[in-house]
């Protein structure tokens, strides 16, 4: 032990404090840098032999809690998901309009039924007839603009997915570059805090797009996976995501795993061997902004569109479809109905209401007329079918004998289907077996003309007419066809009031082509009012109104109300979910901040401490120097 070693110690103290000051200054200057983790200079003693040694900087430590960091990524993904959803649905909320607005869907529907109610009591009144046409046009216009709004949002989602994919690719490329530097700099042994900060910052950014997890390979390199297990970064190779956005998005452009059939972009991960994985088909992205965008594009907004289409289709059909009730027949102990299938258009329905006598449950079969095998498949995959209302396509192009076979196969045991004559369909129950009771058999052919020949009294007149038309097909008749594609899909974007009715308002009253109906005749207006407000219709479960297994049965007016209510509730729950998620994120951020954030007060006290240490060490050096001087002066 001598003055020399004291000098060395003091010098090492100076070095250590300088290094500490360096870290403090880094902390202070980077206090507001994104992703900057507070650093601390670790000082340790360097023993010399078995003697006490001088101080040295053992390393600069990043004050990071890996568990909290994982939670942070998790919550970041979550809030990326909820915020995106809440944001987009907030825009949808604006589309539906405020409750007291005269242009909101509810108000417009109310206006339309009221206009018919007014005209019903004074059908010859030109002003009231005009009121019905105007309210009908407003209704159709509102449906079109709502549908347009929804498809705009889907288009925005499509663009946002594309932008997000580009960003994800950029982040992955940067991570790859950064990872290379980390390996180069330290041979994978001890990484530079700046590079690690950069990597973590990129990972946090990535987490906002999708749910990720990482695994460290130990040599400085690491892997990134989605939580579902798709590799995004392995060793030093970044996976490239690809997305081919559709130029424009419409109601009938839906996602399909088959690229040839998909109307919207497919998100893929290139595996690096020329192959690729469809991330959507396997539901590989479960959280983050990307998951939210995909869900909006392919589920939430599609459901919203389905609801509008269902509303539009029912409004059109309610006014244009006849209800031909089957005639009761008795065959031995079996009872049932005969109904004529003549005049049914492709897409028109025959409904069979029955009771399962063993359970007492009432249910319905809906047979949809198809003219091709393709349409039968289309009906099977349309999602219109539900437990209590099985929707089955029946190919009528093969003749009545085949129709009977198809229906018999569809309804199964308990029913006997036959063709007594011509185009008549007979369905009877199992009589003595008493497992099924047939309650009604109704054919619903669409009336395609505004005025038509009338049956001789006392048969009820045919007053139905195509008040609403589908502007997307020639002739404009909406029959719910599945030939080529599902006519209902996107109908709300194409619906309009029949031009003939607009130009000749007398058609709101005049229903006969064979005789003159007095201008004040109420038959047709009463039919219109009853169909829109009184008639109970069956709405498919794909609208999300009512249950998921039981179809919603109500009047069109009620369905309209429930539709707005369902949307309101979806939007509200997205918003409140987001609120909760933001709170969770803030909580994790707070914990993270506590450990890893730069606290200026803390840094300042370190600074004071370092200043003191520095001056103490300097004092020691000065004392040694004085002592040396004293020695030399002897």
């Amino acid at each position: 032990m001598g003055l020399g070693s004291v000098m060395t110690n003091a010098l090492s103290g100076l070095r250590v404090t300088q290094s500490g000051l360096d870290v403090v200054s880094q902390n202070i200057s980077n206090a507001d840098s994104a992703g900057y983790i507070r650093r601390r200079s670790n000082v340790s003693e360097q023993p010399i032999g078995d003697q006490a040694g001088f101080a040295r900087v053992a390393g600069v430590q990043r004050m990071l809690d890996k568990v909290v960091q994982k939670q942070l990524w998790n919550e970041t993904s979550g809030s990326g998901y909820t915020a995106t959803k809440a944001n987009m649905l907030g825009a949808l909320d604006q589309v539906y309009g405020p409750p007291d607005s005269s242009s909101s869907l509810g108000s417009v529907m109310s206006k339309f039924t009221n206009a018919i109610q007014q005209m019903k009591s004074d059908p010859a009144n030109y002003t009231l007839r005009t009121g019905v046409v105007a309210a009908g046009q407003e209704m159709a216009g509102r449906l079109r603009s709502l549908s347009g709004g929804i498809q705009d949002l889907r288009g925005q989602a499509e663009e946002a997915i594309s932008a997000a994919v580009n960003d994800v690719n950029r982040i992955l490329t940067q991570i790859q570059a950064n990872d290379g530097k980390i390996l180069d700099a330290n041979g994978g042994q001890s990484s530079s805090p700046a590079l690690l900060d950069e990597r973590d910052k990129l990972l946090t950014e990535l987490a906002s797009y999708m749910d990720i997890r990482t695994s460290d390979n130990g040599n400085g390199s690491f892997n990134i996976f989605t939580t579902s297990g798709v590799t995004l970064f392995a060793g030093s190779n970044a996976t490239k995501l690809s997305f081919d956005p559709a130029a424009s998005v419409g109601a009938d452009q839906l996602y399909n795993p088959d690229p040839a059939l998909s109307g919207v972009g497919i998100l893929r991960a290139e595996t690096g061997f020329g192959g690729s994985v469809d991330l959507l088909a396997n539901n590989s992205i479960r959280s983050g902004e990307l998951a939210a965008l995909v869900e909006l594009r392919d589920k939430t907004l599609v459901t919203a569109q389905n609801q509008l289409d269902e509303l539009a289709a029912n409004m059109a059909s309610a006014l244009s479809d006849r209800e031909v009730n089957g005639a009761a027949v008795v065959a031995g102990a079996a009872t049932g109905f005969d109904v004529d299938t003549v005049g049914l258009l492709a897409g028109n329905q025959i409904t069979l209401d029955y009771t399962d006598s063993t359970t007492g449950q009432a249910a319905r079969f809906t047979f949809v007329k198809a003219d091709s095998a393709g349409a039968v498949t289309g009906i099977a995959t349309s999602g219109l079918s539900s437990g209590d209302n099985r929707v089955i396509g029946i190919n009528f192009s093969l003749g009545m004998a085949s129709v009977i076979t198809q229906i018999q196969a569809a309804v199964g045991a308990g029913f006997t289907v036959s063709n007594p004559a011509g185009t008549t369909l007979r369905i009877v129950d199992d009589g003595a077996g008493n497992t099924r009771d047939v309650n009604a058999l109704v054919a619903r052919p669409t009336v395609t003309t505004t005025t038509g020949p009338q049956p001789a009294p006392p048969a009820a007149p045919i007053t139905e007419f195509p008040f609403f038309i589908d502007t997307g097909v020639s002739g404009g008749i909406y029959a719910g066809s599945f030939e080529g594609k599902m006519q209902m899909r996107g109908l709300s974007a194409r619906i309009d009031v029949n031009k003939d009715v607009v130009s000749n308002r007398a058609l709101l009253v005049q229903y006969s082509s064979t005789s003159t109906i007095p201008q004040g005749d109420q038959t047709r207006p009463v039919m219109m009012y009853q169909r829109l407000t009184g008639q109970v219709r069956v709405f498919s479960t794909q609208t999300g109104v009512g249950g998921t297994s039981t179809s919603y049965r109500a009047s069109i007016q009620d369905f309209g109300k429930r539709l707005i209510e369902t949307q309101g509730s979806t939007i509200q729950s997205a918003a409140s979910l987001n609120e909760g998620q933001q709170i969770a994120l803030k909580a994790v951020e707070a914990r993270f901040t506590e450990k890893s954030g730069v606290n200026i007060d803390q840094e300042m006290s370190s600074l004071v401490e370092l200043q003191n240490a520095y001056s103490a060490n300097a004092r020691v050096i000065s004392a040694v120097r004085e002592m040396m001087d004293l020695l030399l002066r002897l």
């Binding site: 970041t76 409750p99 007095p518 004040g520 954030g597």
Partner: protein, 507 residues
């Protein structure tokens, strides 16, 4: 939308910032509530109560629709009631004018009562043509069709083929009167017998013989029902003065007339239609009876049969509609026609009622009004309902008759005509205008009570809706103040805390 990058060093400040933003947003929302008076600006913001909002709004809209329809219907019904009331009063007045024994000769052949009847007919036509907001109220379902033709056309036809009521009356009168005004009877004297019989062809016009009586055994009265029916008086010995024979007749309108002839002594004289002179021989007496029967039949024909014919023809005329051509006497050659009245050719007769005439729909049901969920009231009416038709028949029969001072039968014709007018306008066996008024009033009452009901329900629903949608101003102001205080306190505290850093105290 990319998220804000996370800066660990700014975590605390970010939290504070977020809190401020949140409070600011709350402040903005409260401000909006204060300005708009609404709790929420969208159905999503309304929360679970959006169902109440939607349901009450929809129900309120429906109530509004019903109430509007009631208001419009009420105006129409008021007009209808007034019209019917006027018409009823008019028929009562006409009936009063047609009182018996009130005949006063006038130079131009028109009595005061019938001039009034003509005015009443004209007024009734105008009333039945009442129009409210471009809608004819008495036209059934044909709201755009003026239901009743003009007075002149109805009375006189168009002069170009289409006959009016006057022509129909004239034709029927001719057909009933037959040749020689004997009312389609023949009257022959053969020896001491007077034979009265229906024409051989037995046409459905004129008198129907009901029977004959004689108060003396000197004149035998016999009757054969036929057809054609016939009766005879056989003078076996001369009757004594004061003996009577009667001839009972049915008129086509169902009324009954009895001709009574009194035997008069040779010395006494009197009108032929009331008696006959006893001749020197039974054959001479029979000849006198024959002449007297002819005179009596002619007088009857020119008075009561003519009135009966007018009533029938007018009724036929007013029974006509576009789907149901009025019955016409086949002719010309009306006095000899034997075919029964048949529906005329289209275009041959004025169709006075042009409105909707579907027999399958009752007049009231031609216009129904939904006043509530399940309540539908019937408020339609047609100008050709029976009560209106009968009123017009009564007016027309009176108005078209002629009572010239030169005609000795005028007084008796007046009595015969006014008798028919009174019978028609007393509506004893037919629908009365009041019956229609009662039905319409019932609808009116139902409408008024439904409206009252809707008002009460509406108030209740409005309260429910307001409770869900409307912001309570006091509550909003209090919240606003509390929030303001909190925000100010937070700002101040944050400002103080931001100065409280070690940096400030190091020198």
């Amino acid at each position: 939308m990319a998220m804000d990058p996370f800066v660990p060093g700014y975590g605390a400040a970010r939290r504070t910032g977020a809190t401020f933003l949140q409070m600011r947003a709350q402040l903005d929302d409260l401000q909006r509530q204060l300005a708009t008076g609404k709790k929420a600006s969208s159905f999503a913001d309304l929360g679970v109560e959006r169902r109440i909002s939607l349901d009450t709004r929809s129900k309120l809209g429906t109530l509004d629709g019903w109430t509007k329809a009631i208001d419009q219907g009420d105006m129409r019904v008021r007009f209808m009631n007034q019209t019917i009331e006027n018409l009823a009063r008019s028929t009562a007045d006409a009936k009063g004018d047609a009182r018996p024994g009130a005949y006063v000769q006038s130079a131009n052949g028109e009595v005061a009562g019938q001039i009034l009847a003509r005015d009443r007919l004209s007024a009734a036509i105008d009333r039945l043509n009442v129009e409210v907001g471009g809608r004819y109220l008495f036209s059934g379902r044909s709201h755009d069709v003026k239901p009743v033709e003009t007075f002149d056309l109805i009375m006189n036809g168009d002069g170009a083929g289409r006959a009016g009521v006057k022509q129909l009356i004239s034709e029927r009168q001719q057909a009933d009167a037959g040749v020689g005004d004997l009312g389609r009877l023949t009257n022959t004297v053969a020896g001491a017998s007077v034979n009265i019989a229906r024409e051989v062809a037995d046409p459905p016009y004129g008198y129907t013989l009901r029977g004959v009586t004689s108060s003396t055994t000197n004149i035998g009265a016999s009757f054969a029902a036929g057809p054609p029916a016939s009766a005879s008086f056989t003078v076996t010995a001369n009757p004594n003065a004061g003996d009577k024979i009667t001839l009972a007749l049915n008129l086509p309108d169902g009324t009954v007339e009895t001709i009574e002839l009194e035997a008069r002594a040779t010395s006494s004289t009197g009108p032929a239609e009331t008696g006959f002179t006893i001749g020197a021989t039974p054959a001479a007496t029979a000849a006198n009876i024959g002449a007297s029967v002819t005179a009596a039949l002619q007088k009857e024909t020119r008075t009561s049969l003519g009135a009966a014919s007018a009533a029938i023809a007018a009724r036929d005329f007013f029974n006509g509609s576009t789907t149901n051509q009025p019955l016409r006497v086949p002719g010309p050659g009306f006095t000899t026609t034997t075919a029964p009245p048949a529906a005329g050719l289209p275009g041959a007769t004025v169709i006075w009622y042009k409105g909707d005439d579907n027999a399958a729909i009752s007049a009231r049901n031609t216009s129904t009004l939904q006043v509530d969920d399940a309540q539908v009231v019937a408020t339609g009416a047609r100008a050709n309902e029976q009560a209106f038709r009968e009123s017009l028949v009564g007016f027309a029969v009176f108005a078209t008759a002629s009572f010239t001072s030169a005609d000795p039968n005028s007084r008796d014709r007046y009595e015969a005509v006014t008798d028919r007018v009174r019978t028609t306008l007393s509506f004893s066996t037919t629908q009365k205008p009041q019956d229609i008024a009662i039905e319409i009033s019932t609808a009116q009452v139902a409408m008024a009570s439904a409206k009252e009901r809707h008002k009460i329900t509406g108030n209740f629903l409005e309260t429910a809706r307001a409770g869900v949608e409307d912001a309570n101003q006091e509550e909003v102001i209090v919240s606003l103040q509390a929030l303001q205080t909190r925000l100010q306190a937070s700002y101040q505290t944050t400002a103080i805390l931001s100065r409280l850093t070690l940096t400030s105290y190091l020198s």
